[in-house]
Symmetry: D2
């Protein structure tokens, strides 16, 4: 247990849809071992023995996200795009319950339209997009937030897909980063949501056509976010259920 | 059209589960025409010709909430308790889409555990409860909020079911009222959420065993909330969908 | 009184620092009658007989903001830049009290570093800037907000001073607009704050070197903001003061 | 340096007004060494060698809060009541700047009407009160917040001054605790505010007439809050100042 009440090593499960990497030559050229491998490597590079990373993918039974795996996970990262519809509802239910019970969740890039993110936020999570390989600048608007520690202002990503407003999300509980693109659009690309006992962070850079998950500043954001999203240990449990309480129950 | 861009008359649909009123003598004694009738009468009493109220109930085809009805509704009120599970998922989908498109929604009392509210908020919406007929005091914490206009501080409700923290909701966008109960519990019983283009207000007083919807201050809150939740006209539409946008699309 | 509880006509006082207009030829060429005159004309153009506009300037006794004037004002707009330090503390005190008591306040452009705005927010309100006449795009992130009604997405302002993050403000209660600039910076340029019974809206476009207050979309934002910021009538009063309350005071 | 980027040991300065303790027999009987001594002892009891506590009081030169002391402080706690007006404005300026630069601040009980808290929040911070020695229940509404870790739900404080709504503060960035009192009032008694790079936590229990700072759960809250409010090290600095930025400054 760490001084701040968080588990050491942090148990991270990197979930990858793993479709583009197997189907598209352009993606395989960048991520020969899959995007999930690059995400996992970044966490290990920056967190070392503070983290223990496991990988799970869509193609595994139950998408690799059995109850046992979730029970052994402090923070789950989620990258999906081409196959949102193939994710089983029962797995979405299970992951949602784990988040409400305290598991941290990092939703990455096109994960914005995953069933899981829509389920947790209640909105369409739709946005404006254009994949022209434009420069993205990621500006920190909350410099004292732990997720922004050690991150340059701005992060410069030479080529990325444009994601623009309006982004149909509830007002974030914390807005950490805002991106701009060469074409002029802006996007609330780094924002946190507290749901139940769980901490959720959405981070928009990371299209499959660009080597974004090798970018050192993006890796820093993800490492910071994993630490931030991990639960304070005693709080991890099931989602709350309503409970009848006799008068003066607390005085006993 | 009103000066503030809102439709006059406001088209309100009062949705009632209508189970307790038909099954429980104690409830029928208080609400012989159903709780929905009392809620509707309160809106008409206070808003007069500024409002046009329609009633829909669980037992009607599609629970009375066809697409046509929703398209003709500015604000929907929702009271349910005994039969949350009987509400069809397709109707929940449709109402959620209407809210994201701009329809206002007032969720009342035990509606906190409706599929609809859980869907829009993403959490369990569970709470602590005790039905002992205790005095509830409803304290205004945001006195300049339009929903609190003309409301005494506190509202005194002589007998009510206790609803207590922890209430498993996202942090509200606006916290308007906090209740306390004779037994000492507190509850965030009046809070607003913005989701998509829709405004949602949850108001906790209103158990079926007490004549809460005849209470003049509760009626005032509901009338204020209906006005507040109604959409600014041009914004009413479908939920957003992601959209590809060529470079400089806005400059044309 | 309007249907929404707001006063008709709305009484707006447009406060202008009125220094650049008298000293700088470039500014006088754009705003021969002062920036305040253009701001006032925009409100009158769009709101017609729903508004009654008065002008006050730094050079008047008590800067034109006597208690009588404030008592007769529903919404105050504030543009200052070159002479923040000349504003008397007693006037700042008085305006702050009026806002806490329910008067609306629109803080414009360089007013971000006024004593008044710093006083109400508690932070430095500092930012990054560059005056190169760049294109500013004003993106709506909260399309259902009344201040965004009828506003194009984005507003295109051909030439403006750049204001960029980090903007040292508390997290806004509502974030309505985010700007981007040709140089790539972003800025939370349209945001609201609730303080006491008062509504505050900050809107960043409006440097003295450009004809921004003649831009039809900027005028629309200011007209919408004036309506939004005006108090619901019964709430207008003095700032709150602590009050001793005997037990059961509310039950009497 | 701790794993979470926070300094070990944490440097806490406990500031005490130290007036009641010297003037009122009733207070001296409870707090013979001053309230500040009990607050300091609680932090040391729970945090041990993770904390280094220093005490400063109103009566010292510069109230014990020289620039050197602030530069050597990670978190400042503030208890004042009888002598708010005697605190020098220059010291308030200095402490405000330190908070905006990243120093944590815990404002305790009657500190709600200190110049410092009013300065940082911008509102009157007034409230309703009654000193009748009533039972206070402190309910956790955000159970996953680090400040609530290990805190019972509710905390029971047998005798305390009543603080009730309306509490004239901006909407907190995080609402952690809500209190109720035997007389029925409620109060947002545990809430956080982010201002500049600083974290502020207000906690209401702690009237001088009751031994609240010996209560083990209150001590737990204060220890948790001190850890939470301490700055992530690299962020500690001066308050931000506006800065001119040439085009492409970030690309160099």
């Amino acid at each position: 247990m760490d001084h701040d009440g968080k588990r050491t090593p942090l148990r991270v499960t990197v979930w990858g849809e793993n479709v583009h990497e197997r189907r598209d030559d352009s993606v395989r050229a960048i991520y020969p071992d899959g995007m999930h491998a690059a995400i996992a490597a970044g966490l290990e590079e920056l967190l070392g023995d503070r983290v223990r990373v496991r990988i799970a993918t869509l193609q595994e039974p139950e998408h690799g996200l059995t109850q046992d795996v979730l029970d052994d996970t402090d923070v789950l990262t989620w990258w999906g795009h081409a196959a949102h519809g193939e994710v089983q509802d029962a797995v979405v239910d299970r992951v949602q319950a784990a988040v409400l019970g305290g598991m941290g969740l990092l939703v990455l890039h096109s994960g914005h339209e995953s069933k899981l993110f829509q389920r947790l936020l209640g909105t369409s999570c739709s946005l404006r997009w254009r994949n022209d390989g434009e420069r993205e600048l990621v500006w920190t608007v909350d410099p004292a937030h732990p997720i922004a520690a050690g991150v340059p202002h701005p992060i410069v990503i030479e080529a990325q897909e444009m994601y623009g407003e309006q982004f149909d999300i509830p007002a974030p509980d914390q807005l950490v980063f805002i991106s701009s693109f060469a074409g002029g659009e802006v996007f609330r690309g780094g924002c946190s949501f507290f749901r139940g006992a769980g901490r959720i962070f959405y981070f928009s850079p990371g299209d499959q056509e660009y080597p974004v998950y090798f970018h050192p500043d993006v890796r820093r954001v993800l490492a910071n976010a994993a630490l931030w999203a991990s639960p304070v240990a005693p709080e991890r449990g099931a989602a709350l259920a309503s409970e009848q309480s006799p008068r003066d129950w607390f005085a006993r």
